[in-house]
């Protein structure tokens, strides 16, 4: 009677769990890259003088921020085929993560851009640089530095959110775990283990982020 924990099945499945970790990291990385691109592009579009473009960005951000990721990913996976766009689960997952992370990134990066002294922009313009050049060369890096902690925090959340991608049968850590679970019926052991693995992944990412930050934002501030 009772239930005795037995981690041997987990140990047997360790190789596939580690592959799952890699898949999760891969999904998260691709999702983040896409999110960053969407974030920066969204901030540019948000600041354009085209009303419809600004409205589009605002609408996108609000739509994403106020609906659950599960609903979003279902929509992409099950609805897009009806307009002739059938993406495999991995691509769908990356797209969903990118769109979701992108909406948050837009708001965060916008805050960073607004925190940049207007004088910096004027100095760039006065030197003869164009608006786009000023944004790319002068505003972006200090803006990213200013919001780096919140942006990376959001990206860690995105990584954890990727666990939901198992709902559309994407290959990642949670789906691997569920597979092992359905083979072995050792739910507790499996879930305890992958909780630990997720903790390790987020720790790893945090470390990576801070290494990157030390490299990339290596200029002194007062």
């Amino acid at each position: 009677m009772g239930y005795t924990l037995d981690f041997s099945v987990v140990i047997d499945a360790l190789p596939s769990l580690l592959w799952g970790c890699l898949a999760t990291i891969g999904l998260a990385q691709s999702g983040m890259s896409l999110a960053l691109v969407i974030g920066v592009a969204g901030v540019v579009a948000r600041g354009s003088n085209q009303r419809w473009l600004r409205g589009l960005v605002i609408g996108f951000v609000e739509l994403i921020r106020n609906t659950p990721f599960l609903v979003q990913i279902f929509f992409l996976f099950f609805a897009l085929p009806h307009i002739g766009l059938t993406l495999n689960p991995t691509v769908t997952a990356i797209l969903a993560l990118g769109l979701n992370g992108g909406a948050y990134a837009i708001e965060i990066i916008r805050g960073g851009v607004q925190s940049i002294d207007k004088g910096q922009i004027e100095a760039g313009l006065a030197l003869g640089l164009h608006k786009g050049q000023v944004f790319r060369m002068i505003v972006l890096k200090p803006a990213l530095r200013a919001i780096y902690p919140s942006l990376t925090g959001q990206f860690i959340m995105l990584t954890l959110t990727s666990s939901i991608c198992s709902a559309i049968a994407a290959y990642e850590l949670t789906s691997v775990a569920q597979r092992i679970e359905s083979d072995t019926f050792r739910s507790f052991e499996v879930y305890f283990t992958i909780t630990g693995l997720y903790l390790a992944i987020s720790w790893l990412m945090m470390t990576g982020f801070s290494v990157f930050s030390r490299r990339y934002f290596n200029y002194p501030t007062r």
């Binding site: 106020n66 659950p68 949670t174 909780t195």
Partner: protein
């Protein structure tokens, strides 16, 4: 078997929405109380207390909510603690929310000028009135936008309670879609219901944020 999406089905979704609101409310209230404790522990002078709560926050911010729900739901059972599903889910959400709210509020407390703490101490105010009357009202005000932002996350996060068989909005949506064979319609409605719930909160949050930003810009 097999119905079309009608008023009955919409009613069922709204039934699920009620659970979503209830779950989020429980989690928010529980997380509010727990988060207050966590925040106070994080700014306390006791190093062990800071360490323990720091580890707790790292654990809950570093693992997916999905796993937290599962481990707590079945972990409690494994320890012989037999609780109704909604209690277990409420505990999981409360622990989750306590970690996040605790961290948000710690940041707000630490953002207050040191002079506020010193003035309160110089007036002879003890810990409880110092925190309750002087520090927390100010900190919570600063933290209000972030708190509301987290509440929105929490409402959306309740959709994961579906994995432990809890019939809230997302799960209700799955069930209805299963019976009507119209998942797109159903999930659009489900998405719209979440949006209707979260958007006013988000708007309110950014309004306050703007107001605080203007006030501090003076």
């Amino acid at each position: 078997m097999g119905t079309t999406f009608g008023l009955g089905e919409l009613g069922f979704l709204i039934q699920g929405l009620k659970w979503t609101v209830l779950l989020a409310a429980i989690a928010f209230v529980g997380g509010g109380i727990g988060g207050l404790g966590v925040a106070l522990a994080r700014v306390s002078t006791s190093k062990p207390l800071r360490r323990i709560t720091g580890g707790y926050i790292a654990l809950f911010q570093g693992t997916p909510l999905l796993m937290q729900l599962f481990v707590i739901y079945y972990g409690l059972g494994l320890m012989g603690l037999m609780l109704p599903a909604w209690v277990a889910v409420a505990i999981a959400f409360t622990l989750h929310a306590s970690a996040f709210l605790g961290e948000i509020w710690r940041g707000a407390i630490e953002a207050l000028p040191k002079g506020q703490f010193e003035a309160a101490r110089a007036l002879g105010l003890h810990y409880v009135p110092r925190m309750r009357d002087v520090i927390l009202p100010q900190a919570l005000r600063i933290a209000l936008p972030a708190t509301i932002g987290f509440l929105v996350q929490l409402i959306k996060g309740t959709s994961l309670a579906a994995i432990v068989g809890f019939i809230e909005l997302a799960r209700a949506g799955q069930i209805v879609s299963n019976q009507t064979y119209a998942p797109l319609l159903v999930f659009t409605v489900v998405g719209a219901l979440y949006f209707a719930l979260c958007w006013p909160l988000s708007l309110y949050g950014s309004r306050i944020e703007g107001r605080i930003a203007r006030a501090t810009a003076r």
